[in-house]
Symmetry: C2
DNA sequence: GCTGGCACTCCCGGCTTGCGAGTGCCAATT
DNA sequence: AATTGGCACTCGCAAGCCGGGAGTGCCAGC
């Protein structure tokens, strides 16, 4: 056997060829043959030699041929090696950057709209699918609560958190309370809790409940309840997606059945969220190539993600989903920059 | 020419055969031949005779053959005739009705959630795509406004309408106001406007602005602004859809390109909304078959809609989108009942 | 007016064929 | 020992061909 196949790392030359192969394959999606590589690699090398090298690379698991006499195609391992060590990223064009800046730092948007814009931008620039998880707010603090009596035994409760988060919900009580009583309760709660973090509020409320079995039980319980909802719901109802239909243009997704399963996964959200959750701890851009994600609907698809932070605190993840043969050199920096800009944008309107 | 082809209405017998043909075609999607019809129509009639009748029906434009020696397939005109005069609807099963009842009249849901549930139910029961427009609220009345000072010159405004509609938004003011001043302003506005309809509020505010150029201009303007947003936004951000992926199971949508255009239209919302708007004036169930809709993305698809009302006032439209060859006899009553139940559910939690 | 018979048309699946692309191996060259 | 050209071979793919089946339109007879 040749030396190259004994080492587990491919030779210099093999790496160069692998890189040329992956780039070529990303460009036009066709298996790459030896002649093409010999011509385009830039190295003065004959097709036959290329074939020998390819045999080595195949043995090492970096490439494979769809059938006996087709060219070679990168395997997941091949892509992984490419992305990890061969890739040189290609910074976004000026227009792309200004486009991102202009849209994300325009300050008249609510956070919700901002996430949608971000998702749209990601999908628009990459022509793939953009995804942005809703930011989780960890240390929300109680600002103000308000009870508005509705007809009968129903009370509209409005809870304002931090600076701008507003939650509202209707309570169905077992009896009706006077407007005065409601106002007093609200005042009491606000006096007690304004400025405290929700975890503190929760603890105090529970304590208080245990000691003084006051008549405001029901409303206090609701307050706890709503607070908890804020904690969890923001993390749960998931993400904003855009440009799903872009994926329909790619040949690797031409079978309707695959598409259907994929779109169902998008609607389901659970699997995708779980995948994104894994990225929230990562430092920078993270990439799942093909089956690496562990979810079969994402076979032949890659996910490029980056966490985004507000005040050095990671609060969410965004990214792009596209075919495995995507232009990683373009996509990676775009995802990276977008994450930073989104963080900045969120901070500026916190 | 035979008599049947001179009248523009098909003969009794032709109608019976047409009905059998459409039902059969809806069942299994294959062009229906004369032998099959002769056997299954229940009329004692030979295939040859059926062929003669089919020739008449084809001449009249109710059926057509995909090619010389295939069976016949209903045309849009054929479906239309079937739906208008031949169809006998098939009331939903008891389980379906109870399912709808249980899910829609369970009273712990917010209106938003209710619409989503409805959409899910429609898609789940019909195995097609469910769609529900957001209800428009015409005569919302002012209940209460609240200004919460944030950092710097920003104020969080919360506007409560009717009984449960809560809008919130952040204002960027040119200078900072004291908490007291904000409270006074809110009180003033609430005293003036509580219980009034938004149109009245708007008129009064504009009047007042013209006469007394008070310092609360900015905030009053905002109040108007928000009120207007409620008017329009609710009608604009469209609809809730569910089960889009169900459409991917139908043979008539096996081409990815068609699917892509369809899903883009779903995301775009504009065309679909425009179509639904036409149904809001109709009394009961309305059906668009294939090209009747006028939107080419909906070719080969039918839309079955019904308006839903609260207090005898139509506030929205819901429906089902599926292949032209759908089981109209089942779908129509389901859409009908769902619209009524949704109306009732909305009323009960108004 | 209905019916059986019959020739005809067309789709569809399976099979074959030829071509092109690309490989693997080998022997010759450097 | 690495590189190279040559060559036989493999495979996928598109085109062409064929036969069967389903269904039609027409016609003549009842």
């Amino acid at each position: 056997m040749a030396a190259a196949s004994i080492d587990n790392a491919p030779s210099e030359r093999a790496q160069h060829l692998l890189r040329a192969l992956v780039e070529r394959y990303i460009r036009d999606g066709q298996p790459v043959g030896s002649r093409m590589l010999s011509r385009e690699s830039g190295m003065d090398i004959s097709p036959a030699t290329v074939r020998n090298v390819m045999a080595d690379l195949e043995e090492m698991g970096f490439v494979s041929s769809p059938h006996t006499s087709a060219g070679r195609v990168p395997t997941v391992k091949g892509y992984r090696f490419f992305v990890d060590t061969l890739l040189e990223v290609h910074p976004p064009s000026d227009e792309e950057i200004t486009q991102l800046r202009d849209r994300l730092l325009a300050d008249d948007d609510s956070p919700q709209v901002l996430l949608t814009s971000t998702s749209n931008l990601l999908s628009g620039i990459t022509r793939m699918t953009g995804i942005v998880t809703l930011p989780r707010h960890e240390n929300l603090s109680w600002r103000q609560i308000e009870f508005l009596p509705l007809s009968e035994n129903r009370v509209l409760t409005i809870l304002v958190l931090n600076q701008r988060e507003v939650q509202n919900r209707i309570l169905y009580l077992d009896r009706s309370y006077s407007a005065d009583f409601l106002r007093q309760t609200a005042n009491y709660l606000n006096d007690q809790f304004a400025g405290l973090s929700l975890t503190e509020v929760r603890d105090r409320l529970l304590n208080e409940l245990r000691e003084t079995r006051a008549s405001l039980n029901e409303m206090m319980l609701t307050a706890i309840n709503m607070a908890e909802q804020v904690f969890t719901s923001a993390g749960q109802d998931g993400y904003v997606m855009a440009g799903e239909t872009n994926l329909m243009n790619f040949a690797e997704l031409s079978e309707v059945e695959r598409l259907r399963r994929l779109f169902e996964a998008f609607n389901e959200k659970r699997d995708i969220l779980h995948l994104l959750d894994q990225c929230i701890s990562a430092e920078g851009v993270q990439i799942f190539i093909g089956e690496e994600s562990g979810y079969s609907v994402l076979d032949d698809l890659s996910v490029v993600t980056a966490p985004y932070s507000v005040d050095d605190r990671i609060v969410g993840v965004l990214g792009v989903i596209g075919p495995t043969r995507m232009a990683y050199d373009r996509v990676i920096p775009i995802v990276d920059i977008t994450a930073k800009l989104l963080g900045a944008a969120l901070k500026s309107r916190k």
